[in-house]
């Protein structure tokens, strides 16, 4: 049996140089090359290509585009890079031969090669209905499913390798999974096996070389012999760099990824996917001009790549953003001098004015805290981007809209949803910013060597320990997973992020990682965390780092975690079902306005898990119950408990602030309002109230921040805001600014008596 390897792709690689845009294709290598039933006429063209005669290959494939067999015509069009025509021809070929599994499978492979695995998978499934044993469809389906969460791909790969242990394509897919979790020994074994099988089956081993080069790169072998071998075999084989770049990217090594992607486009200038990825990752390194250049090249060659198109659109959108500069000051633990690092806040022009004071405050605070806690000085400017449009953030992050993420860190650049990207209270943006800023320190201190679980764990732990929201916010479904013993061993925890096997496993892994870091801090001391980063920097893996720093095995750490969870969450986990029933009954009672029952059930639930402040919180229900029975003091009391535990629903916080003000507790009300800034700062009432509070207590600087922010929200009545700003400046003895601002107030409202009075007072004109 002859299996056709990646010839079609390589033909295009060279041809496109000569015939410009006529031949376009995506060069991302999927499994479309391993065709077991290749037609002899196509094989002849492939052979011409193999001999290095590119023009001859073009001349050979071109007439086949008009072949009477629609399937062969489709393959020829695909080989020549006309994927649109190939798609149409495959559609007609399938209509013509509806019971032919091969044609359907090849059509599916075309979709795989054009970044559309969700369109490919149904075609493979249909082919398998026609021939359940058809291996080309099975491997195609496995490749399509690998891009989706869940365990189906792995199960299918196990099935394939059990049935056909020498299947090169399947071996490579399993090797890729091992590389993703840095199981390099396993990956190399699989790749060596694939090499033997390829040799035995006369398969050109370029894909295998690319993965061997990836394994070398992950092992810090700079000049991999496999790169040399691949380029000897095919000098324009860009994948030998493009494929390893993927493993740099999933390990946050964007600088290194850009370097190898540049090599990919150097050897293969028509590697459109490499240009696309190079552009996307230059953008992650804040090189906007470089990003644009490569994305435009990618688009010229492959206008169907959604990542390219989306990112180019995003670049246009970035023109609406403002760069606001500030300086973060910090002092390392062993230094007696302050150090500074520039910070660029990249905010949308519509919200820069109201948001920047808070982004700045939290960023500067975080840099000060993390540099000290992790003994690390940022070496480059920090870029902080906030996107009011969640889809823009999605494109910025993974080049596609609709992602479920809130924020992401690319080394020194972080990007996240701005507070206005989601409905009020849907997320606590202050915690997200804090979380992402912590990543900068773990990623950079370890020189991008830490595992995913560790950087996420530290960020979650820092959210809990030092972030702007008090309390540990463990979602109910995570508690459920803990109860069901679904936590992974720490040595394998990365797979919970990279290849989740159940729907909420990523969330569970975040929380588990956070709990491990919190436990290390509590049991061994916080300084062990930066020490582990040092060990990761020395290229130790988790097993070694844990042994070096904590003096125990990872298995022992796993056992410690169980004890730690028992100590901290034992009560709720052991009585989890009871607690859930109490919450459910309480909510039912609340719906039926049985307020006494609500309070009784809430108190019982709080004995089990008093820290719970998320959806369906007992404190909100108790508050409603007390309000309904006119026990307003108790209503305020339970809301305060909820707030102290980290409740952050903005409407309830506003309500609490009002009630506290009614009680004359202005300072506490101000404290509550300040907390709203980190969850839902785009509220005119909030800044107006806070500004007035600060003004009344003589905190004029803080008042100025609130009123300036308020102006950024374009309030209906700006004159009052300018008057308040003028008063703050007056209190700060800045007469010039006070006068200018009171005049601005009068510009809007010439008849504004209070402003007139202040103007008269400031100018000394009492006539």
């Amino acid at each position: 049996m002859f299996i056709k390897p990646a010839h079609a792709t390589r033909v295009i690689t060279k041809m496109a140089v000569a015939v410009a845009l006529l031949f376009v294709t995506s060069l991302s290598v999927h499994a479309e090359e391993y065709d077991p039933n290749r037609d002899s006429q196509l094989l002849e063209c492939d052979g011409i290509y193999d001999s290095g005669n590119i023009e001859g290959a073009i001349s050979c494939y071109t007439p086949l585009k008009r072949h009477s067999s629609l399937h062969i015509a489709a393959e020829a069009a695909w080989a020549l890079g006309n994927t649109k025509q190939a798609n149409e021809l495959f559609r007609r070929a399938v209509e013509e031969q509806p019971r032919n599994p091969h044609v359907r499978t090849r059509w599916g492979r075309l979709f795989l090669s054009t970044h559309q695995p969700s369109s490919a998978a149904p075609l493979f499934r249909e082919a398998l209905l026609l021939d359940p044993a058809y291996m080309h469809a099975k491997t195609g389906l496995a490749a399509a499913l690998l891009s989706q969460p869940g365990t189906e791909a792995r199960k299918l790969l196990n099935e394939i390798t059990a049935e056909d242990p020498d299947n090169v394509e399947a071996l490579l897919m399993v090797a890729r999974l091992s590389l993703e979790t840095r199981n390099l020994d396993q990956a190399n074994k699989l790749l060596d096996h694939a090499l033997k099988s390829a040799e035995a089956n006369n398969i050109v081993p370029l894909d295998i070389y690319a993965l061997k080069a990836s394994a070398d790169m992950l092992n810090d072998v700079e000049d991999s012999e496999w790169i040399t071998k691949a380029l000897e075999l095919s000098p324009a084989y860009g994948d030998v760099f493009y494929v390893p770049a993927h493993y740099h990217l999933i390990n946050y090594r964007y600088v290194e990824a850009v370097e190898v992607l540049q090599k990919a486009v150097d050897v293969q200038p028509t590697h459109w996917s490499a240009h696309s990825q190079l552009g996307i990752n230059l953008l992650r390194l804040n090189d906007i001009a470089g990003a644009k250049k490569h994305l435009e090249i990618a688009y010229s060659g492959d206008p169907f790549d959604t990542a390219t198109v989306n990112t180019l659109k995003l670049l246009d959108t970035l023109e609406e953003y403002k760069d606001l500069d500030t300086i973060a000051t910090f002092r390392l633990p062993d230094s007696s001098n302050d150090t500074t690092v520039p910070v660029v806040m990249r905010l949308h022009e519509s919200e820069a004015k109201y948001l920047s004071p808070y982004v700045e405050e939290l960023t500067l605070k975080a840099v000060k805290s993390f540099s000290e806690r992790y003994n690390f000085a940022p070496e480059e400017p920090l870029i902080v981007e906030l996107f009011p449009n969640h889809d823009d953030f999605g494109v910025r992050t993974v080049s596609t809209p609709g992602v479920g993420l809130l924020g992401v860190a690319f080394g020194y650049l972080i990007a996240m949803d701005s507070p206005s990207a989601r409905a009020p209270g849907e997320f606590h943006w202050g915690s997200t910013l804090w979380h992402e800023l912590a990543h900068i320190f773990t990623i950079k201190k370890s020189n991008h060597r830490m595992p995913r679980w560790f950087t996420e764990g530290v960020s979650v732990y820092e959210e809990w320990a030092t972030g702007p929201l008090p309390g540990r916010h463990i979602p109910v479904d995570v508690l459920q997973a803990i109860k069901e013993d679904k936590l992974l061993p720490v040595a394998d925890l990365d797979s919970g992020f990279v290849r989740p096997t159940y729907p909420n496993q990523v969330n569970v892994s975040y929380m588990q990682a956070g709990l491990i870091c919190a436990m290390i801090s509590e049991f061994w001391g916080h300084d062990r965390l930066p020490e582990m980063l040092d060990e990761y920097r020395k290229k130790q893996d988790t097993t070694e780092a844990v042994r070096t720093v904590l003096g125990i095995s990872t298995e022992e750490l796993d056992r410690n975690l169980k004890q730690y969870i028992e100590m901290n969450f034992g009560t709720v986990i052991n009585q989890f079902d009871t607690w859930k029933e109490l919450i459910s009954s309480m909510n039912n009672a609340a719906q039926n306005k049985q307020w006494a029952t609500v309070v009784a059930l809430a108190n019982q639930a709080n004995e089990i898990y008093p820290e719970y402040v998320e959806e369906g919180s007992t404190y909100i229900a108790m508050h409603d119950a007390y309000e309904a029975s006119s026990e307003s003091e108790k209503a305020v009391e339970v809301l305060e408990t909820w707030f102290d535990y980290g409740g952050y629903q903005p409407d309830m916080l506003h309500h609490l602030a009002h009630r506290l003000r009614d009680q004359g507790r202005t300072d506490r009300a101000t404290e509550v309002l300040e907390a709203i800034n980190w969850v839902s700062p785009n509220s005119i009432d909030l800044h107006e109230r806070l500004g007035k509070d600060y003004l009344a207590r003589g905190d004029n600087e803080a008042a100025l921040r609130e009123f300036q922010s308020l102006l950024g929200l374009d309030p209906h009545d700006k004159s009052v805001v300018y008057l308040n700003i003028a008063n703050a400046y007056k209190n700060l003895n800045d007469k010039k600014r006070a006068t200018r601002n009171v005049l601005q107030a009068l510009e809007y409202a010439p008849f504004f008596r209070e402003a007139q009075d202040l103007l008269v007072e400031l100018t000394g004109d009492s006539s």
Partner: protein, 319 residues
């Protein structure tokens, strides 16, 4: 007391009484002054909740209109079954005989509908459509006219009603929606009432709330509501016509309290200075910033002085 036609039971007796009251009210209006006449109509609620809301809005608007009406009988509120087509027609017929109206305002509060061709204001009994409404409004002879259709689908009215004709002077039309396809119940009237009944909408702080201030306030509040809630806004208010900034809808504060005592000369001085300030502001981009603010400061201090004289004259100083 506002001339109010209220009938929640919908009896024929009250309806007839309503008609008589309209006639009585209009007949008592003297012809020697330029009158400011306001008609507020609360349409069919369809549910207790909406009926209560609409009546509340209408009453609040009428109450405010009463504050600046020279004759309180020039404020007419129709709600409940008094807001029927024949009564409305009778009212406008009666108004059409008057020659003394300077400013005429008509507020339509409630639900509206649009069948693809015409807008209808939903009232007890047969609805009143856009052509009928336009005809009624055209009958009223006034220097300025303000029409506020604070209902769903009211944007459809914009195409049917123009900014003035031979009998009507300048007409300003405010609708809660941009067209007839925005058919869900609107938030606009809630914020409009807030604008009319509180000083919040008075951005220039002259204690006089104009149609443009009402529109801007309510429009911004509606936009803000949907933006904050991350909901697709189902209503987009529109303002059509000129000089909305000169159409006073409500007053408050010293101006309201002392409106009968302020000497005309002082008010004229104030107006002159306000115009000078407005001209200066228009030239802001062409003048050096410091020079601009120096000039503004001089004018503002003069205005402040006149303002103090007005306060003294009206006995409101210190307020």
């Amino acid at each position: 007391m506002i001339t109010t036609l209220v009938n929640t039971s919908g009896s024929a007796i009250t309806k007839r009484l309503g008609a008589l009251l309209i006639a009585g009210a209009l007949l008592t209006a003297p012809c020697s002054y330029a009158a400011n006449v306001t008609v507020v109509i609360s349409g069919l609620g369809g549910s207790e909740e909406f009926t209560e809301k609409f009546d509340g809005y209408a009453t609040a608007i009428a109450d405010e209109a009463k504050q600046i009406a020279l004759n309180q009988t020039d404020v007419i509120l129709l709600r409940g079954s008094a807001a029927k087509k024949d009564i409305i027609t009778a009212l406008f017929d009666a108004l059409s005989t008057r020659e003394d109206i300077n400013r005429f305002s008509a507020f339509f509060i409630g639900h509206g509908s649009f069948d693809g061709r015409s807008y209808k204001f939903n009232i007890p009994g047969p609805d009143i459509n856009d052509a009928e409404l336009t005809e009624l409004l055209n009958k009223v002879k006034s220097q300025q006219q303000l029409v506020v259709a604070a209902t769903s689908a009211s944007g459809a009215l914009l195409e049917k009603i123009d900014s003035g004709n031979n009998t009507v002077g300048r007409r300003v039309v405010i609708t809660a929606t941009k067209n007839g396809r925005e058919k869900t119940a609107v938030l606009f009237p809630e914020y409009m009432v807030e604008a009319i009944t509180t000083p919040a909408a008075d951005t220039d702080k002259n204690e006089s709330i104009t149609a443009i201030e009402v529109f801007n306030y309510a429009n911004k509040a509606v936009e803000g509501f949907y933006e904050t809630e991350k909901l697709l806004a189902p209503e987009h208010a529109r303002l059509q016509g000129e000089n909305a900034e000169a159409f006073e809808v409500a007053r408050y504060g010293n101006l309201l309290a002392a409106q009968d005592n302020v000497p005309e000369e002082l008010l004229a001085n104030r107006e002159t200075l306000a115009n000078q300030i407005s001209i200066l502001r228009g030239r802001k981009e062409d003048i050096d910033e410091d020079e601009y603010f120096d000039a503004l400061q001089d004018l503002m201090l003069k205005l402040s002085e006149v303002q103090s004289q007005i306060d003294d004259a009206s006995g409101q100083s210190g307020n």
